[in-house]
Amino acid sequence: MSNSVGNGNGTAPSAFIGVDVGGTHTDVSVVYDGRVERGKALTTYDDFSRGVLEAVGVAAGNYELGMEELLRRTQLFINGTTVVTNTITTLRGSRVGVLITSGFRDAFRLAGGPRTTEIDDHLQVNVPDLVQRRAIAEIDERVNWAGEVLVPLDVEQVKAQARYLVEEVGVDALAVCFLWSHANEAHELAAEAAIKEVYPDLFVTPSHRVFPVEGETRRWTTAILNSFVQDRAEVYLTSLNERLRSAGLGGGLAFFQGLGGGISLEKARQYPLGLLGSGPAGGALGANELAKRMGKRRVLLGDMGGTSFDTGIISDNEIHIDKNLQLGPFMTGVNIVDVISVGAGGGSIGWVSERGVPQVGPQSAGSTPGPAALGRGGEQPTVTDAMVTLGFIDPDNYLGGRVQLRPELARAALDGTFGERFGWSTEQAAAAIHDLVVVNMANAVREVSVGKGHDPRDFLFLAYGGTLPLFASQIAERLSIDTIVIPQNSSVFCALGLLSSDYVTRNDQGVNWDLSKPDGVERVNAIAARMVEEAIAQMESEGFARDQIDVQRSADLRFQGQAYELTLPMPARPLTADDASAIFDDFLAHYERTYGEGTAWKGVPASLINYSVTVTGRGERPQLGAVAAAGEAAGELVRETREVFLPAERRRERIPVIDDARFVVGARVEGPAIIDAVDTTIYVPPGTTAVRDEHMNYVLTR
């Protein structure tokens, strides 16, 4: 079956469905018939596809359609999933065997040095074994730094070791990890072919295929992770595909990657590791699309859930990609949308540390026992308890009124932990929790901006997720950011983001061109031409016409002797020997912009280390957020007033609660005020103005 995009089957399917399988909920966003509808279901860990179909059914109901009818009318179904992330965090994946260059089988335990920067020795443990030591077989072969074969591969040894690993050790996937395979892939390819002769259906990951870049620890770890997640990813991909197809889906099915774009079922089967971290990437993609529609180029984004706060940066409408993802203890070569996560959510617990200092998080009360106010036995005060106490969360209307909160339990928890000890009123204790969680989130936003050389004051803060709009203003204030945007459909923003995704693949290749030796350019050109050709062919096989395919080229450069690279765009043409000095000058300028004037190394040549090709297949995408005209306020904006304790001012005040439905485009509210929206609550502090823009966003300015 073709996975092509936009290929109708005669009934002119026109719906787009985005599904984000998250840790707790499976969220669905549908664009069809000129409007957006949502669906939610609990994530079903035994078979993720069950929850997906359930959530699609809910959304279909909002169109008064059956699930199967909606699927029949669907042009493209894009799915983001936690299955790969979950396989790694729980360490429950395939039994992987490794064929490795003789002499180097301990690379995974050595792990590039496993010690963390924590001083405490009790926190220094070995990197978990993704492969058993007896499942690592050594192979005689050797390639040198220049890619020259020193010792040829013994194909019979490969077959014998593969047989040993499969028959004796019982592995169900393999990785082939040879030194310098990024410089010369012949041995890994020959080994793969030899394995396939014996076991045609065995899943094999040659390391150069997933990360053909210098540095064996990352390349090999990426390879074993790809094989490690293969089994569970395969089960998921197959099950979802079969269920959707048998339920009537005739349009395209794409899987969303942490890199920020989709890939087809077939490609996902070969490179399941690419599905890592797709949820936060969906949010970032949606944020960027929204920013483009608003004509904004620089965005800091934030998403707060029950246990954590995610934040990332978009500069010049480019989502920052984190190369070489550090995944817990694992060094990988995965490229992923750069979103960092800190333990700051509604369930984060307030406590007093050994120094007698109040703290919030990273421990979370989760859903069991949950915040004290839930009355499920939680005795420790959480962020949610603080916000109930301050009056920002309406105990009678929590989660749409489905859960009745008990504010007296929240107050008791706050008093018990903080009140007597610090001589605080309950509200002061709640305000302390509020302040600390704001600081923790602001520090994370600072890390993704200042830490990467950006001034947060030049950015707007885009805040989504159900909880963050209560805190967004204070986070922004700490960073001197003057504009905050809270999108409509805040709570399913990630799923909605998936709908704007294109097909994307990215390949990095180590080339190591010494720019002081311009005659090496032909080798780089040959590699680049092959990469582009292969990438375009790949995208064409996904059903895209040549004119739908965009190719972006970039390169990583560093001074010789350095370990960190900077990335520069590369021209869409073969390089010439004359380009070497121009590229070097560009690199110098970029270096000093990044690290400061006068920091560039004097008299040291630079090398172009990696060449990267990103190919995008652009299909038809749904029209999102058509510009709305200014409306007439239908009635009084203020629905009621509510007494709240203003955290910054440390005083109790009765403030207006704005009716979201009446807060039409062009309307304006001066803080202090609360806007009660369908799936979120927004706090507008004193001195801040909120307006509804033509994209139906709430825009807060100071």
Partner: protein, 727 residues
């Protein structure tokens, strides 16, 4: 606790901001430095201090720089006061002298700059890194062949080489003329200036936010809070005097092969800790230590044990602690002309282990289970290192200092898990091992293997962490040469609570190897196929020449064990045997575990464990061997007796040394290690090094395994104990 009279939230937010500041200084240093010594092995440090020279924040990379930053800054404060000069923004001093300014060794260069806010001098920022070279007879700052400090290369007592944020051009010329990699070294210094400027910029933002008065107040509050927590922890350590002995190895120059004794005495007095170090007279070789390395390494040992949970590192931590290094002229307090270019890694690392040794003795006697759980086997703390210089395959020169074996050292066993493999040295938090492809791409080397060493982790109920072994052949250029040094070849780190010492480190060249011939025959040179003339070389070698075709083999040592190895669950030993982490012979001899094929042979294991216990005490034990109530605590002490924690056998009066009541088995360490298939360098000269295994006469439990010289009668035990003062 009473109600605070200040805004506790604001003070905590301020503390986090200062922590971010030192972290951002570190990020700047890593990103702008090209040196793999910084980017991979993280051999650097950044911190912020106030006008009194107290730490306000410290980025935990190389921990012992708490010493160089404190003492280096103090030296500058004194210098400025003496000169009566005026401080200006953009001023900066370079410091690398262990004798006058607290440096760890000359290779670790500090840049220290004053901080200001609206014209007011507020304190100092500090950045330090191991630069690629400092000239002299050594390479990369290591000069095992030097007989005095003047041969060791550039030596900077505090010198103001930076004005208006730039290195004085005259000094640039001077430094460039005296080091082997002038471009890289000057870039290293610029990176440190950039790091300090980041600190200055961030500090201004923080004070803008909090206000100057609040900034000053919160700095004091946060120091007080750290001090208070540490004092509360110390209060739970029994008062008394604890002592330990270790030996620094020096077999360089033309001999003799010396073991240099050093000791520490820790007095726990209420909430104070007083360390007193002593040692033999200083020698004419690079092992001698000075105030900076002694303080820094004593605190490094202390921090990894006592800094856990909620205890930010700042100046408050040092207030309960004093470190006395005695009269000048010894290896622990050397004076010019004593060479000191490995002060931090020779006597310094022994000082680190001694600090942890006495703390573990004391913590084991605490009533507090959390403190008892902090005892641990010793880390290796010493590594086979070499620095090389020569032409490479790219037509240039390579200056090599591979941290691989340092960061590849095994960690000591903990009460909660086995020691970490490739833990590194105690001081190297966050350290990394560079990839083989990085080395082969840059330098004229071909790696033959890099692997974990079987049996390298010291045996114990919890096993020590395993270590890295690697070998490379010189395949290109015209040969490489430089110094070699190994601080821990003969006297390996000892275990705790009956756990055994770990393997030691070693290195040797294989001359005129068959690697070129094997490669010509398109055959892989493996460990099994490698042939050539294996050369026994000294552990401190002024200069080794490696010709094309020679192979250099370097093996790091492992961490020490915790608790009696007979208490280790057999299933864990079986797994280690199957994985090849321990050999069958090792498993049988020290763990008493026997396999039948790949399964546990339970009957043979029971019989072997029973036999080992009989052999330990030369008789059938009268009591059962039980796991002590607190893991790794093999001895208990009450008002009258030292007793066995397994069977309550009384060993010695409480005022005496528990060893008096134990059954002793003493063997030359080389002999014992040969039985156990472990690595140690045998001494060919007196005194010998021995293992002293002490067993309970009642249940045959392993109570403690000492590593000592044959000259020393007995190791000291805790004395003058009083009950802990409860605050």
């Amino acid at each position: 606790m009473s109600t605070a009279d200040y805004d506790v939230i604001a003070a905590e937010v301020h503390r986090k901001a200062l922590q971010n500041l030192t972290d951002e200084m570190a990020i700047t240093l890593v990103r702008t430095s090209g040196s793999p010594i910084v980017t991979e092995s993280k051999d650097f440090s950044t911190c912020l201090l106030d006008t009194a020279g107290e730490h306000l924040g410290f980025s935990s990379y190389v921990l012992f720089h708490v010493g160089s930053s404190l003492i280096g800054t103090k030296a500058i404060i004194d210098l400025v006061a003496a000169q009566g000069g005026e401080l200006k923004p953009g001023d900066g001093w370079v410091v690398n002298d262990p004798h006058t300014a607290g440096a760890m060794h000359q290779g670790d260069v500090s840049i220290i700059m004053p901080t200001f806010y609206e014209g007011e001098h507020l304190g100092w920022s500090f950045a330090n890194m191991h630069v690629l070279d400092v000239g002299g007879v050594g390479i990369s700052g290591y000069a095992p062949g030097a007989h005095d400090v003047y041969q060791e290369g550039l030596r900077f007592p505090p010198i103001k080489i930076i004005r208006d944020g730039r290195i004085d051009p005259e000094w640039e010329t001077y430094i460039a003329a005296n080091v082997r990699a002038p471009g890289a070294v000057l870039n290293d210094i610029r990176s440190m200036v950039a790091s300090n400027r980041t600190g200055e910029r961030k500090l201004k933002q923080i004070i803008d936010e909090f206000g100057l008065e609040h900034h000053k107040r919160y700095c004091e509050i946060n120091k007080d809070l750290s001090e208070q927590v540490l004092r509360e922890r110390i209060a739970k350590i029994p008062d008394g005097v604890y002592e330990a002995v270790d030996w620094n190895e020096f077999d360089g120059h033309d001999g003799p092969d010396r073991l240099l004794e050093l000791r520490v005495r820790l007095e726990v007095d209420g909430t104070d800790l007083r360390y007193t170090y002593s040692g033999v007279p200083q020698i004419d070789a690079f092992v001698n230590s000075t105030e900076g390395p002694m303080f820094g390494q004593a605190m490094t040992g202390l921090m990894t044990v006592l800094v856990y949970g909620d205890l930010p590192v700042n100046g408050g931590l040092w207030r309960p602690i004093s470190v006395d290094i005695g009269e000048p002229g010894t290896i622990v307090n050397s004076i010019p002309p004593a060479p000191v270019s490995n002060a931090h890694s020779e006597v310094g690392m022994r000082a680190c282990k001694l600090s942890k040794d006495v703390l573990c003795q004391a913590l084991a006697l605490s009533d507090d289970p959390l403190l008892r759980s902090r005892i641990a086997g010793q880390h290796q703390d010493g590594f086979p290192g070499n620095a090389l210089f020569g032409t490479n395959q790219h037509g240039g020169v390579s200056v090599i200092f591979y941290p691989d074996n340092a960061i590849g050292s095994g960690g000591g066993a903990q009460t909660i898990n086995d020691g970490q493999d490739a833990y590194g040295l105690t001081c190297t938090t966050g350290g990394g091992i560079p990839d083989i492809e990085n080395h082969e791409g840059a330098d004229p080397v071909l790696f033959l293997w890099r692997r974990l060493v079987a049996n390298s982790g010291g045996p114990g109920q919890m096993r020590g962490g395993q270590s890295l072994d690697q070998a490379y052949a010189i395949t290109d250029g015209s040969g490489m040469s430089g110094p070699c040094f190994n601080a821990c070849a003969q006297v390996p780190p000892h275990g705790v609570g009956g756990g055994y010492p770990g393997s030691a480190g070693s290195f040797h060249p294989v001359r005129e190897s068959n690697v070129p011939a094997l490669l010509a025959a398109r055959t892989l040179p493996t460990m099994e196929r490698l042939d050539g003339r294996e050369e026994r070389v000294r552990s401190k070698l002024t200069h080794i020449n490696l010709a094309v075709g020679d192979v250099f083999v370097a093996t790091a040592g492992g961490g020490a064990g915790l608790g009696d190895p007979l208490l280790r669950p057999p299933a864990l030993v079986v797994r280690d045997v199957i994985d090849g982490y321990v050999t069958a012979r090792h498993a049988e001899h020290v763990y008493g575990v026997v396999l039948a094929g790949s399964e546990l042979d339970a009957a043979a294991t029971d019989a072997t464990r029973a036999r080992i216990r009989r052999e330990r005490i030369g008789a059938e034990p009268g009591r059962a061997l039980r796991a002590p109530a607190s893991i790794g605590v093999s001895l208990v002490r009450d008002a009258e007796w030292w007793s066995c924690a397994s069977c309550a056998e009384q060993l010695a009066p409480a005022s005496g040394n528990w060893r008096e009541g134990a059954v002793l088995r003493e063997l030359p360490i080389a002999e014992r290690y040969e039985q156990l298939e472990m690595i140690v360098r045998d001494r060919l000269e007196e005194p010998r090094v021995t293992t002293r295994e002490h067993f309970c006469p009642g249940c045959a439990a392993s109570l403690g395994v000492d590593v000592a010289t044959s000259e020393l009668e007995t190791l000291p035990a805790a004395s003058a104990l009083r009950e802990a003062v409860v605050v």
